[in-house]
């Protein structure tokens, strides 16, 4: 299945890409995607993804916290956003 991923802030700098598509196995969970990203973009990415305070991980616009957290299931066509805190007024 295909999962669209958008990066913002320092994660975009580490991934060196704004938006990309990953092919994942059916039944993949969010934790699998993050592991995949860590493998592709390296330890610095993995470290940041696990340590950015208040990092929002959105699956189709929903906070992953309310979709099962790291165990949240992914499906074909999902969009996953990694958004470090930024603010509007």
């Amino acid at each position: 299945m295909n999962v669209e991923v958008l990066f913002f802030g320092q994660l975009r700098e580490l991934a060196a890409v704004r938006q990309t598509t990953f092919v994942m196995k059916d039944g993949a969970r969010l934790v699998d995607l993050i592991e995949h990203l860590g493998g592709k973009y390296g330890d610095a990415f993995r470290h940041e993804a696990n340590n950015i305070r208040h990092l929002q991980i959105l699956i189709n616009g929903q906070q992953h916290t309310f979709l099962g957290g790291m165990e949240a299931p992914l499906k074909d066509g999902d969009t996953v956003v990694f958004l470090p805190p930024i603010f509007g007024g």
């Binding site: 208040h54 906070q63 930024i86 007024g89």
Partner: protein
Amino acid sequence: MAGYKNRILRVNLTERTFSEESLNKELIHNFVGGRGFGAKLLYDELKPGVDPLGEESELIFISGPLAGTNAQSFGRYKVFFKSPLTGSYFKSSSGGYVASEMKFSGLDIIVIKGIADKPVSLWVHDGKYELRDATYLWGLDCDDTHTLIREELSDPNIRIACIGPAGERGVKYAGIFSDRRACGRGGGGTVMGSKKLKAIAVRGHQPVELADREAFAAAVKEQIKGYQTNREFATFSESGTQNSEFTNVIGIFPTKNFREGVLPNWEQLERTEYNKLRVRKTRCYSCMLHCGSITKMGTGNYAGAWSEGPEYETIWAFTGPVAQADIGLTIAADKLCDDLGLDTISTGNAIGFAYELYERGLITKKDTGGLELTYGNNEPVMLLIRQIAYRQGLGDILAEGTREAARRIGHGAEQYAIQVKGLELPAYDPRGAKSHGLNLLTSNIGADHNTGYAPQEIFGAPVPRKVNRFAIEGKGELTKWNQDLTALFETGILCSFAPSMDMLREEVYGRLLSAATGVADFSDPAYLWQVGERIFNLERMFNVREGFDIKDDVFPKRLTEESMPAGPSAGQIFEAEPLLTDYYQVRGWDGKTGIPTKAKLNELGLGFTTGK
């Protein structure tokens, strides 16, 4: 009492008289300062039903007890008035340097009443004051007004709060501008213009006394540590609110007059794009966040355009409503609104309203003077801004605000005016963020996001708890929490970014207040929370006295009946009835009228508002 200057200056423009009075201790203890003082003064001094633009109305400028000290992010001032746009209580605030300069010149509060017989400016300097002829300034834009006043008084460091042509011409959402920062919302500039007061200029050199210098220094040190150890500090310092991604990725960036929640090509308005255009940083008095930016276009249709900003709301105001992401226009339109003295939120919302009416045939080229108001065509925007400010062509009716403009246009136009209590909605679609929406619905000044911003829904903030933005359960309590906390911090007129990023909590704020003023109760967060709730309820009672009740806590049908058509908030509506029922119950208000109960008012020490 330390912290405060203990002085209110009253200016009667009709009589051309001045008087002074001291702050009384009961006012200080019960309302602390800032928004608390403003709410109490407006309630006490404005007669019910007063014409906001008449002789008896007041325009009240207030600086906070921590302004002018080295505590961080207290450089904002607030203006209070009855709004000509909403008919309600109103508060509006601005960063910059006016608040600290008011303190240095010996004042906490300036109350303006009456109407001058010709344009004047008020010059306040080190405890002295005078009205000066401003006939030669009338008609000038805000930037030029600043320049000429500083030349006239031979001091480049004078701080100024002024209006532009929009305020002079009675545009209902004209703001008050200070070095390109604005008390933008609600028509404070309209009230100022009706009084023929072009500007207030302030300069002073008096120190702000502190009750306990040692304890204050320790509290400031603690505050600064809270900033420096916050991981969001660096990002926010760099970019401020210059972005559009955080709302587009959750599908609440209002597009086509709140019909959609994702702007096509919004990636052109991302933080990284504005970072490329930044040429200088700016800051407010004693604020290490320095979140402001001077941004300049180097190429394209708007080459050479620059502004201080644009902030997030302005980025939305000139893109979402016309469904066109053009970064150059956001900068050019921002500067034009600053110069002409317009609130960018209401201006952009009004333009989006006009586009929808045009699409639906409720207005035609005959009304627009030949302008083609079709989505994706943003060419008319700059001209429409000018027409609104100068009340020309279609701008004359849009200058009344969308609610009144819709009433005059008729033929069902009312349903396309996206406002609450007459105040146009800002850059958040409430269907995808229920507490954020509930605040827009119940704010005492109409649809204002800063009265009870819900960072829990918008940024995933975990304090007091993480919430599902689509859920309705518990949102009454959360909305009250955000609104009362905001009121608490606005007693000191703290910039809202510090608490929303969890850089400053009420415990340290209380220590700052207590050390500055010597009032022991201020160090108790529980006491401050009660003051916050007291302020919010007093504002509500001002509105109740003006005839507001449950019928005014209402969104246009689009938001409660039309589900979001697509994007990350697809399928959502705003469930007003259960959300409001929950909110009134949590507030201790009557569920049938939306009015605070006597028991609640007595509990908060507001028994005087019940008429007994």
